[in-house]
């Protein structure tokens, strides 16, 4: 069963940027898009485990800092032709606070 947890204020994540969240389930990357949507992925690239939180964000995709795989926020899948998935976690923003279900 997953549970909603408050993480931080939206403002604490830079636009087109990210933050790492330490959780009992391991590290999770929180991303904020240009439109202020927030997404969360397990902070491990499906390629060789690179920290996705350190990547560059464009649209709803992060480019892994290690070997430039592109991972999609909505389902965690790598952009073809690469194949692999970083687990996505549900998020919501309410009253300027970011929540994550883990």
């Amino acid at each position: 069963m997953s549970e909603w947890k408050a993480v931080c204020a939206l403002e604490e994540i830079p636009r087109l940027g990210s933050r790492v969240v330490k959780t009992p389930q391991g590290e999770i990357a929180l991303f904020r898009t240009a439109e202020d949507e927030v997404f969360a992925l397990r902070d491990k690239c499906p390629h060789k485990g690179g920290p996705l939180s350190q990547g560059l964000v464009a649209g709803k995709v992060v480019t892994c800092p290690l070997h430039a795989w592109k991972i999609q926020f909505e389902n965690g899948e790598a952009v073809a032709p690469d194949k692999g998935c970083a687990k996505p976690y549900p998020t919501k923003v309410e009253g300027g606070r970011v929540w994550i279900a883990i």
């Binding site: 947890k5 408050a6 993480v7 931080c8 604490e12 830079p14 636009r15 087109l16 940027g17 933050r19 790492v20 969240v21 330490k22 959780t23 009992p24 590290e27 929180l30 240009a34 060789k48 485990g49 690179g50 920290p51 350190q54 990547g55 560059l56 964000v57 464009a58 649209g59 995709v61 480019t63 800092p65 290690l66 070997h67 430039a68 592109k70 032709p81 994550i100 883990i102």
Partner: protein
């Protein structure tokens, strides 16, 4: 909004490529219907020869399978030939009565093989070579018949003859001209080619004109008779004497045609609702019969169909490669030479090697290579770019030395390598993986191969080899990247040069402003263009443009270098390679206090602390900062190190104080961002212990002053720095160095090292700006100093600002 209707007639290589390009630009704009006369989805026509030779199956060469059409919502009428085009009603009608009306029509009907207008040309057993049906008919004939005659010794004819020979037939090639492939090769190369084909069992009759084909038993073709009276038996005759644009449909609808359907630079016909691409087209009086130019047309046409209106097709230079396994022939451009040209020839018939380069006005105009075609792709690029080659003329013949021995595979040529050979050392990609990807996905460009295999996508040292593999797998269809005009990335059509110019001319000051002004296709760009734009902005408008941390690669955002396990490395600056006991003590203390797992001397002569978690970086820097240590920028596209030797300060041979000069240069350049990293070295005498010969700027002390060298590189492909000029004083070293680096900062493209920049613009240009024009040099130097004014150590800033970048969030 109701979708507009696009109908395409001709389901071949040019047409489908146009649709693919259109899908990238405007996937939702049209409801698309495609008519194809062949009962197949689009396949790779140029790989029919491997199918004939038994090296591939039809299924291997399909480019867009049935699912592709379905997934893109395209209605495909395969096996339905369009017989009527009604331009008034904006409608096409197929043989079986199927109709479709259009808002836009795309004609891509290809070409038809020419049949000799001689008696007997319709006899059973007489075949042209154009599609899979012809190929299958030839394979069937090879099973029940022995003697084949191929009329036409051009590219297609030779590939057909070779395939039939491999299928066990006795094959004679009959050719009208005095040597084979006379449109692509000169006589010397053609003779060599003929000899090696003869060794493979083919026979040749040159200078022969066919008069008639006569029937043998069962009414099938039996004899080929020549004008000179001679004759040879034949149970299969393949006519491969050329093609003509298929313009029947266009002509019947009254569309303006000459040899092909006439189009303008946007691939529009005389009817503005109708576009045309491919072999059916005539553009500026030229028709094409190779796919590379057709793909360029496709790209432009798609852009106009997508209503973006960017880009014009201005014609193509083509290159040829024969796809006969084991034989290497390449030709491009004006290979015949003639008035106003010069030739450089290398001929070694015993070794089976012949090369001819044709020069016109200090530029490479054409090339013929036989036996060793490894450098073909490079020559082709030089021809297309029209690059001035006078500086490299004397070694032009020997190729770019990196091409031959690129990668880690020695100097063997890609075509001769086994499938198991590792091509890309960074990503562990083997030749077989690359060839398979090219064949299964129908790849034609380096970019596409990078995307699918990752080969050449990391350090790039194997690029030459990958290009060779592409060229030898797809032949003339290989499309070398256009180095000059290549778009920055998929988010724009504009090149680096065009973007830089716009930023300067329109005084654009932020990334969103650039994207808006230049019509970026994606809302936030991508990991390729954003760092480039960020650099162009801050280098063009220092102290004015916004520096966007989110558009910098993690290393530059966090001011440390990310490691494979996600930790970081810290390299404090050691000015000129000098350090002190206090600094060393501080480094030792930090290493102990933070349990740094690895402490190492770098190749840049300073100390690296590796394996530090991101959260600890500010604390490490604070400790180092107290001892006066600042960021070494070992992570940035920026000034890196200035290596020095001991010089006149200590060395018995030293003529100049190299350590002091090195420290001055490094202090001057502290915090300098650049298109790529920048490394310097200063040696005290020509023994050059600081290895100044492979640095972006190398300074060598001599008795009367300093010699300055630029554009060296010790990395992927070692480049020896080139002599720029001699100067007398330390102040001049700073001014000339600063001016050269500022020129690079202002005009270099992102990720172009100084060696690539200078190769592109020419050393003469650099000298004209930096050495010969004193006013220009001083202005450049001043602009550099202005840009660097007030730069604050990023480590100190991060410590002071308690930047949240380094702090992890937590939930229980």
């Amino acid at each position: 909004m109701k979708k507009r209707k696009l109908v395409m007639v001709g389901n071949g290589m040019a047409g489908c490529r146009t649709l693919e390009e259109l899908m990238k630009l405007a996937p939702e704009l049209y409801e698309i219907t495609v008519f194809g006369a062949e009962p197949h989805p689009n396949y790779n026509r140029i790989l029919l020869s491997p199918v004939l030779a038994g090296e591939a199956q039809f299924s291997d060469i399909v480019l867009n399978d049935w699912d592709w059409y379905r997934n893109h919502g395209i209605t495909l009428y395969a096996g339905k030939k369009v017989v009527k085009l009604d331009r008034k009603a904006q409608e096409v009608v197929a043989e079986d009565g199927t109709r479709a009306s259009y808002d836009r029509l795309l004609l891509a009907t290809g070409a038809l093989p020419i049949r000799l207008p001689i008696p007997g040309n319709e006899l059973p057993g007489v075949i042209a070579y154009r599609d899979i049906a012809d190929t299958e008919a030839m394979i069937a004939a090879s099973k029940s018949h022995q003697q084949a005659v191929v009329i036409g010794g051009g590219l297609l004819g030779l590939e057909a003859a070779h395939g039939l020979a491999l299928r066990g037939m006795e094959v004679t090639v009959v050719h009208l001209a005095d040597w084979i492939m006379e449109r692509q090769l000169d006589k010397t190369a053609a003779d060599l080619l003929q000899k090696s084909l003869e060794k493979k069992g083919l026979k040749f009759l040159l200078g022969k004109e066919t008069e008639r084909l006569e029937a043998g038993a069962h009414g099938r073709v039996g004899l080929v008779r020549f004008k000179d009276g001679g004759a040879i038996p034949a149970e299969l005759v393949v006519m491969a004497i050329g093609i003509r644009p298929n313009i029947e449909l266009a002509k019947s609808a009254g569309l303006h045609c000459n040899r092909g359907i006439v189009v303008d630079d946007t691939l529009q016909t005389y009817d503005p609702k109708i576009y045309a691409v491919g072999e059916c087209v005539e553009h500026r009086g030229v028709t094409y019969g190779l796919v590379a130019p057709l793909f360029e047309q496709a790209k432009v046409c798609a852009n106009h169909l997508a209503q973006l209106g960017i880009g014009r097709y201005t014609g193509s230079v083509t290159s040829t490669k024969l796809k006969v396994t084991g034989i290497d022939v390449f030709s491009a451009g004006e290979f015949q030479g003639g008035a106003g040209t010069e030739e450089i020839v290398l001929s070694d018939p015993a070794a089976g090697v012949y090369k001819k380069l044709v020069l016109r006005d200090q530029r490479l105009a054409g090339a013929v290579l036989y036996g060793d075609t490894a450098d073909g792709a490079w020559y082709f690029e030089l021809i297309k770019d029209g690059q001035d080659i006078h500086a490299i003329r004397d070694h032009l013949m020997f190729g770019p030395h990196h091409l031959g021995d690129a990668g880690h595979a020695g100097k063997s040529h890609a075509a001769a390598l086994p499938d198991s050979a590792e091509i890309c050392g960074c990503n562990g990609v083997k030749k077989g993986d690359i060839v398979r990807a090219i064949k299964t996905h129908g790849l034609f460009t380096l970019e596409e191969v990078r995307k699918h295999t990752k080969a050449s996508s990391s350090c790039g040292s194997c690029t030459g080899l990958v290009e060779q593999i592409l060229a030898s797998t797809v032949g003339g269809a290989y499309q070398p990247a256009e180095t000059k005009e290549k778009p920055v990335c998929g988010c724009t059509e504009l090149s680096h040069g065009a973007v830089r110019q716009a930023i300067r001319e329109q005084k654009l000051l932020s990334i969103p402003a650039v994207m808006q002004a230049l019509g970026w296709k994606t809302p936030n760009g991508c990991a390729t263009c954003r760092p480039a734009l960020n650099y162009y902005l801050i280098s063009t408008w220092p102290h004015e443009a916004e520096d966007d941390p989110q558009s910098r690669f993690i290393n530059e955002r966090a001011h440390a270098n990310i490691q494979k396990d996600g930790t970081f490395s810290v390299v404090p600056r050691m000015w000129g390679g000098l350090t002190t006991p206090a600094e060393l003590r501080a480094i030792a203390d930090v290493a102990e206090k933070y349990q740094v797992p690895t402490v190492k001397m770098t190749g840049g002569a300073r100390i690296d602390l590796l394996g530090i978690p991101k959260e600890k970086l500010p604390a490490v820097w604070a400790d180092l900062g107290r001892a006066g240590l600042v960021s070494g920028h070992a992570y940035g596209k920026s000034i890196r190190t200035v290596k020095t030797c001991v010089g006149a300060e200590h060395c018995r041979f030293g003529t100049q104080k190299s350590m002091a000069m090195g420290v001055k240069l490094e202090k001057m350049l502290f915090g300098m961002w650049a298109p790529h990293k920048v490394k310097l070295a200063v040696s005290g005498c020509p023994r050059n212990c600081a290895e100044a010969g492979i640095k972006d700027v190398g300074v060598i002390g001599v008795d009367s002053g300093y010699e300055l060298y630029v554009a060296g590189n010790g990395g992927i492909k070692t480049e020896i720095a080139q002599f720029l000029c001699k100067v007398r004083s330390d102040e001049e070293v700073k001014e000339y160095t600063g001016a050269f680096l500022q020129l690079y900062r202002e005009e270099g493209f992102y990720l172009e090292r100084t060696c690539h920049f200078v190769a592109r613009v020419g050393l003469d240009y650099v000298k004209a700006q930096v050495v010969e024009d004193a006013a220009r040099r001083k202005a450049l130097y001043e602009r550099l100093l202005y840009a660097l004014q007030g730069y604050e150590d990023p480590w100190a800033q991060a410590v002071k600002n308690r930047s949240p970048e380094y702090v992890a969030l937590e939930v229980a």
